[in-house]
């Protein structure tokens, strides 16, 4: 097990190297120029060239890449072209809102989706099953931004129960923080809830058809015990996989939710940096996202050992 973890961690380095090359080239080869954006409308070509030189963007691409990699190896993700702040500080500023949104969304999604999936599987091909599945399809189909606007209109504008936008850090108290997360977590969580509920149902149906479940039922075990202890545990590997993928997606993929609810997280930081061609931020973020995804995948794989004793590394 220990050797496996070490092997997997070592495999992270080539993955990160490929990501680094890819993101660097992608940004440099894409159209756009931060120097032109900084210089503005009245700038002459000489003005733009001077800014480009100041930013080191006039150097050959390979030289820019070598300088960047050298910084990365020193543990320096660079400095934002626009704000002049270190990328690590900017990421640090945005980490808490994204993590809190992610946790709130997962809480909403998992706590509702698994019971619904189990229920749908237990009552397969009944009205309850169909209602749950229709709900799942809707959860998938309704765009997050639309769900967000509807939630804001109902709960913030009409009922005045919750704030329209913004994020209050945990340092200001748990409830103020949660108040700003309830609507975005519901809007975003609905999609994940639908995904997890469908996977739970499918996985449970497969397990419920197994002989040992029939045996457990024949022994007279309570339905709840059969479903939760015998079936759900054995159906959990695909469910955990989907939840894990969800976590990875949530870290970098919450742009729309963060935009609609004005949550200053990593998603917004990424989009703003891309639009401004703030290369160091985009490069730093993609590397961090890639690293996090690799680690999450490793954790998912390791969790299988605890969920299914037959799996060994």
């Amino acid at each position: 097990m220990g050797a496996y973890i070490v092997r997997r961690l070592l495999a992270t380095f080539p993955v990160m190297a490929v990501v680094a090359v890819f993101v660097f080239l992608l940004l440099r080869l894409a159209p756009g120029d931060p120097a032109a954006l900084i210089a503005g409308d009245d700038a002459t070509s000489a003005d733009i060239d001077a800014i480009r030189a100041k930013l080191g963007l006039d150097l050959p691409i390979w030289e820019q890449f070598v300088l960047w990699i050298a910084d990365i190896l020193r543990g320096d993700l660079g400095v934002s072209i626009f704000s002049n702040l270190p990328v690590t500080v900017l990421i640090g500023q945005r980490l808490e809102p994204t993590l809190m949104l992610m946790l709130a969304t997962l809480f909403v999604a998992v706590t509702l989706a698994i019971p619904l999936g189990v229920l749908a599987a237990w009552k397969a091909r009944t009205a309850i099953d169909r209602i749950v599945m229709v709900f799942s399809v809707l959860g998938f189909a309704v765009p997050v931004f639309l769900a967000g606007y509807v939630l804001i209109y109902v709960f913030s504008i009409q009922l005045r129960w919750l704030p329209v936008q913004g994020y209050r850090p945990l340092a200001q108290g748990l409830w103020p923080c949660l108040q700003g997360l309830i609507l975005p977590a519901i809007a975003l969580g609905t999609t994940y809830m639908a995904l997890i509920a469908r996977i739970t149902r499918a996985s449970m149906l497969e397990v419920l058809a197994q002989d040992y479940i029939r045996t457990a039922n024949a022994k007279g075990l309570a339905t709840r015990r059969v479903l939760l202890l015998h079936a759900l545990k054995n159906a959990s590997v695909p469910i955990v996989t989907v939840i894990g993928i969800g976590i990875a997606l949530l870290i970098s993929g919450v742009v729309i939710t963060e935009t609609v609810f004005n949550i200053p997280g990593l998603g917004r930081l990424t989009v703003d940096a891309v639009l401004k061609r703030d290369y160091p931020i985009v490069q730093g973020l993609i590397l961090v996202f890639a690293g996090v995804k690799v680690l999450i995948n490793l954790m998912i794989d390791l969790s299988y050992v605890f969920l299914d004793p037959r799996i060994r590394y």
């Binding site: 503005g40 543990g75 980490l95 639009l275």
Partner: protein, 534 residues
């Protein structure tokens, strides 16, 4: 391992500071009056002279002060300057600073700071460069008095020092002003009415300012950028809310007090919302729309081909599409902002003659052989994108072979600087907008420049137009300037440095139950004199 630790340390440091320093301190003290304003962009840099972004100018006007400021009638009035004298030959200006001016770090503002700031700004801004081209000396007389000596009687010195919008001539500390022009000043220590709390700055989200208790406002009533700039709230939070609908809902719910640029689509909703007021910003329209033409490549290297494009533009179509409400727009055929002193609509019969069929005929007569016309069409801008689509529709309706290059605005900005032929990565046409105050006169309006390689992108090349612009700057009276402005208009209609598609005002909205005292100004937003109610 140590290197990885370093990255983690950075992220951790940021997180911890975000959690315990920034956010804990970010909570306004109880009883503080806080103005929350949603802006059109986030404050991205601390240095107002580093970039031409309007938001950098807004930040500059909060933190710093200026020597002059224009009033409601756009007349420059002394601001940091107490007295000034102009020599009889109009070549020597002597300025004396007001008493009691102090930077936020407590040090007095001296002429050393002023001279260093003017030199830095003078190397960056186009209007400043034009003026500084005639400045032979900036001399310190004493700690509060300095002299500007000119080689020629350049007539726009005070107008240039009172420039508003972007690249405003703010005065920073000498040590900051000595930063090279293309490097950023990393502190925000000014002498303006508000002090920035740099440690609470979250780029892309929030910028916080607090009242400068040491600020000494002028005695005159506030008027535009002149008169008393009184900080009447304890704290200002400039917020960047990316989504237009969320911004509107936040104002309706009372979570923000001030919405700088509500989307025009939402203005009717806001106008009907209790306790929300929508007002015009300043006496001059805030924006004008332009179609920029590349003069380097056929067919638009010939004036006849450029003139043919006049027949593709029905300003009402553009303005209805991007603004909608006639209350906020006007048709304008002047190269100088309509509604201001030097506006002149000579030639409007030609400029306003919408006739797509005639456009194609004239283009063909000018040598157009149905080659693709490369139009850079931004896909992500709330006004430029729809305006580009109106132009493309008009060109297609005329039967012109259009190559619509749909890219984001950042890519348009990069590509428009390329002088290559369109087929080699260059361009023929792009659409953009400018600030109304950037074209108050022909000298300020750099897009009228026709200095070939030295001109703005599009590189218009016409000696006569440039000669007239220079002549304007030396005119001795307003009447004389108006006559020259008319000649410039006539020449520009012939040369077609660009085509105007109208002008409009971006309204602002605020909670009338929560704040009052807004000073409407054009081209930027100011926060002095705004007070919280109750």
């Amino acid at each position: 391992m140590g290197r990885t630790k370093s990255v983690f340390r950075g992220v951790l440091l940021g997180s911890v500071s975000a959690l315990f320093l920034v956010h804990a301190a970010a909570t306004p003290a109880s009883g503080e009056s806080v103005l929350r304003a949603s802006m059109h962009a986030d404050v991205r840099t601390l240095d107002p002279h580093w970039t031409t972004q309007t938001i950098a100018g807004i930040h500059g006007m909060l933190v710093y002060d200026t020597l002059f400021g224009v009033d409601d009638e756009l007349v420059p009035k002394p601001q940091m300057v107490g007295d000034y004298k102009i020599s009889d030959d109009r070549k020597t200006y002597t300025f004396t600073l007001r008493e009691g001016l102090k930077f936020h770090d407590g040090t007095p503002v001296t002429t050393n700071d002023v001279i260093a700031s003017l030199k830095r700004w003078g190397a960056k801004d186009q209007a400043a460069r034009a003026m500084m081209g005639y400045v032979s000396a900036l001399e310190k007389v004493d700690e509060r008095t300095f002299r500007m000596v000119l080689t020629e009687p350049y007539g726009l010195v005070l107008d240039t020092l009172g420039k508003t919008g972007t690249m405003v001539p703010i005065i920073m500390r000498e040590k900051d002003a000595k930063t090279e022009g293309n490097a950023q000043v990393t502190e925000a220590i000014g002498s303006g009415p508000f002090r920035m709390l740099k440690e609470q700055w979250v780029p892309g989200s929030k910028t916080v300012y607090v009242k400068n208790a040491d600020y000494v406002p002028r005695k005159e009533a506030p008027s535009g950028f002149s008169g008393a700039k009184v900080p009447r709230v304890d704290r200002i939070e400039l917020l960047w809310i990316a989504d237009a609908q969320t911004r509107m809902q936040a104002l309706i719910a009372g979570e923000i007090d001030f919405l700088e640029q509500p989307s025009v689509d939402f203005v009717p909703i806001l106008e009907q919302t209790p306790n929300v007021k929508v007002i015009r910003t300043g006496s001059v329209d805030s924006h004008w729309g332009t179609i920029r033409i590349n003069h380097l490549h056929p067919p638009f290297d010939k004036p006849e081909a450029r003139q043919a494009l006049y027949h593709l533009v029905k300003q009402e179509d553009f303005l209805q599409t991007i603004v909608g409400n006639p209350q906020y727009y006007r048709v304008c055929y002047s190269f100088i902002t309509c509604g201001t002193a030097y506006a002149d609509e000579t030639g409007k019969e030609q400029v306003g003659d919408y006739n797509p069929k005639k456009a194609l005929e004239k283009l063909k007569a000018a040598g157009y052989k149905n080659e693709p016309i490369s139009v850079l069409a931004a896909t992500d801008h709330h006004t430029i994108t729809p305006a580009s689509q109106v132009l493309l529709a008009s060109m297609r309706a005329a039967g012109i072979n259009v190559d619509a290059v749909s890219i984001d605005w950042g890519s348009v900005v990069a590509r428009r600087a390329k002088r290559e032929k369109p087929e080699a990565g260059g361009w023929n046409i792009f659409v953009t907008t400018s600030s109304g105050v950037s074209s108050l006169n022909p000298a300020l309006n750099t897009w009228l420049g026709a200095g070939c390689e030295k001109a703005n992108v599009g590189w218009p090349c016409d000696e006569e137009l440039d000669r007239l612009r220079a002549q304007f700057a030396f005119a001795g009276s307003v009447e004389e300037r108006k006559q020259i402005a008319r000649k410039i208009q006539e020449r520009a209609v012939h040369v077609v440095p660009y085509i105007i598609f109208g002008q409009w005002t971006q309204p602002l909205a605020y909670r009338s139950d929560k704040i009052d005292g807004i000073v409407p100004v054009t081209g930027t937003t100011v926060f002095w004199n705004i007070a919280k109610k109750g």
